[in-house]
């Protein structure tokens, strides 16, 4: 921004002219170069959408009936990632807290990574692609493994591979709920009176007497939150130690790619692998729409 000393030695107008001329040579006129591309893109996509619409009809099931709950009931596909989360943690966490924080974090990206590095070109920093692959792979594989764990697929694999039964002593590792259901928690841990801790009355709302169920809290909130915060941090830490992620932009690419991979994986699982009773089985809405 500030004019360099040499630039001040020569007439300002000359300096400005020189700079503009260099930039101008790199420039094209919007009409026709850009307008033409936009026009072609619009025509192509109009054709594409008309052809698609002629070939594939939109879905329309029976008239809405509040008395008949379809099994499974699913949100629109772009929310199935959240619906999938809902199966693994406290509903308030999956339905409200996680999406809110995710959106705020998304909006905050430029304020974390405000370096000019790698601006205006596809993945142009030295380790950009590496971090993209790493983040995407860890996000996709990690999410799949976590879902498998919570659905006790490791038990299934263990019993298939060894032919043996899953040892009873390890029943608390059947899935996340195992920690709550398969451990003999002392009675007092299920019901710790916290009283009016939230002070909702200060907001003019009814006071809420809280009873703290420690095992449920562990399984529904403590462990999920720690996994969702801790695993990404761990990923960044390991990538840092391995010198894969060194700059802010590296870490940003790593985390963003991880996030997208988690988002896509959860959406795919929620859309194509949650059937009746939201069990983990292949499913499409088109095969059996009336259920």
């Amino acid at each position: 921004m500030a004019a360099a000393p040499q630039a001040q030695a020569q007439p300002v107008s000359q300096a400005v002219k020189g700079r503009q001329r260099r930039a101008r040579e790199e420039e094209l006129l919007v009409w026709p170069d850009l307008v033409f591309i936009e026009f072609i893109a619009a025509v192509l996509f109009t054709i594409l959408i008309v052809v698609l619409s002629v070939m594939v009809d939109s879905i329309l099931l029976d008239r809405a009936n509040p008395a008949v709950t379809p099994n499974p009931s699913k949100a629109p596909w772009y929310f199935l990632n959240l619906q999938e989360l809902l199966l693994h943690m406290h509903p308030a966490l999956a339905g409200v807290v996680v999406p809110t924080i995710a959106l705020i974090a998304l909006g905050a990206i430029p304020y974390f990574d405000n370096t000019p590095e790698g601006q205006g070109e596809w993945l142009s920093t030295p380790r950009a692609w590496k971090n993209t692959y790493l983040g995407a792979a860890v996000g996709a594989v990690g999410t799949t493994l976590l879902v498998f764990y919570d659905e006790s697929k490791h038990i299934w694999a263990f019993e298939k591979l060894t032919g043996a039964q899953w040892p009873e002593a390890l029943n608390f590792m059947r899935g996340l709920r195992g920690i709550q259901n398969e451990i003999a928690w002392p009675a007092w841990t299920l019901d710790v009176p916290l009283g009016n801790l939230l002070r909702a009355d200060l907001l003019g709302l009814p006071a809420i007497e809280l009873d703290w169920n420690i095992p449920a809290f562990l399984v529904e909130q403590f462990i999920p939150v720690n996994a969702m915060v801790g695993l990404p941090l761990l990923l960044s830490l390991v990538a840092h130690k391995l010198k894969i992620a060194q700059t802010k932009r590296d870490h940003m690419i790593l985390q963003f790619s991880g996030f997208i991979a988690v988002f896509v994986t959860l959406t795919i699982i929620g859309t194509y692998f949650r059937g009746e009773g939201l069990n983990l089985v292949p499913y499409t809405i088109f095969a059996d729409p009336l259920h």
């Binding site: 101008r24 009409w31 809405a64 772009y78 308030a92 959106l103 590095e117 205006g120 939230l198 690419i253």
Partner: protein, 251 residues
């Protein structure tokens, strides 16, 4: 008129050109002649309210398809297409639990091109969610969110939310089983928030379960509230692209 100046007189093409582009009608509309000279090309962009969303010149790297994959533009294209087909759908649709489903059925069977309109609207709605998400990814991976474009990224996140809400509110309108239960599942998520969740869900749905009140609200949001907000934010988005000096470039 010296012979050296006009050796052959005006050609047929010249006269046709003047007849079309130099007459008072054309001039009253477009102000510049046909954009066949650099001057007229720049004027065409600068003096047209729609085209002047663009600058008159842009950097050559930004014209390459692989820089943006046209994704922001396609999101906008989808929005425009949805507006057009959406208005046509409104001709045949009444947002009442007694009529909505029958209106959609009639649209599909009795209305000429009705099924096509509905299909186009629905596919573009899905398409817009996809293009907006992919646009966000392209902006991220080209590092185009960095200063001075931080705020436009935030505007973009708002547009992403508005796009999802537009699609979500539209999902209820056919009033079939898919619509009812998807919106029930979706709004129950809102209701699960501590303390404020249930009151919020109640306001959104207008009752304890998804019924006429919800349909009315979703319809109003879908056809006017959210599109207006999206249009305003798009205005800001496009304006900021220009103010931030066009698309991002390497320093």
């Amino acid at each position: 008129m010296a012979a050296t100046e006009r050796p052959q007189g005006r050609s047929m093409g010249d006269r046709l050109y003047d007849a079309i582009f130099q007459n008072r009608l054309w001039r009253s509309i477009f102000r510049s002649g046909y954009p066949n000279t650099p001057r007229n090309q720049m004027l065409a962009v600068a003096t047209n309210v729609f085209l002047h969303l663009h600058p008159t010149r842009i950097h050559r790297t930004h014209v390459k398809i692989t820089h943006t994959f046209c994704l922001g533009g396609l999101s906008f294209f989808m929005f425009l297409g949805l507006t057009i087909t959406g208005v046509l759908l409104m001709f045949y649709y009444v947002p009442s639990v007694d009529r909505a489903y029958a209106d959609i059925l009639a649209l599909e069977t009795d209305v000429r091109f009705g099924q096509l309109m509905r299909n186009m609207h629905r596919w573009m709605a899905h398409g817009m969610v996809l293009t907006v998400l992919m646009h966000m990814m392209r902006v991220f991976y080209t590092g185009a969110y960095k200063p001075p474009r931080e705020f436009n990224w935030v505007v973009g996140v708002v547009l992403l939310v508005l796009t999802l809400l537009l699609s979500f509110t539209g999902y209820l309108l056919p009033w079939d089983q898919l619509a009812l239960w998807a919106i029930t599942v979706g709004t129950n998520m809102v209701g699960s928030a501590p303390i404020l969740g249930e009151p919020n869900r109640f306001i959104l749905v207008g009752g304890f379960q998804v019924g006429q009140a919800a349909l009315t609200r979703f319809y109003a949001l879908h056809v006017i509230g959210l599109p207006l907000m999206a249009a305003v934010f798009m205005m800001v988005h496009f304006w900021r692209i220009r103010r931030d000096g066009g698309l991002a470039r390497p320093l």
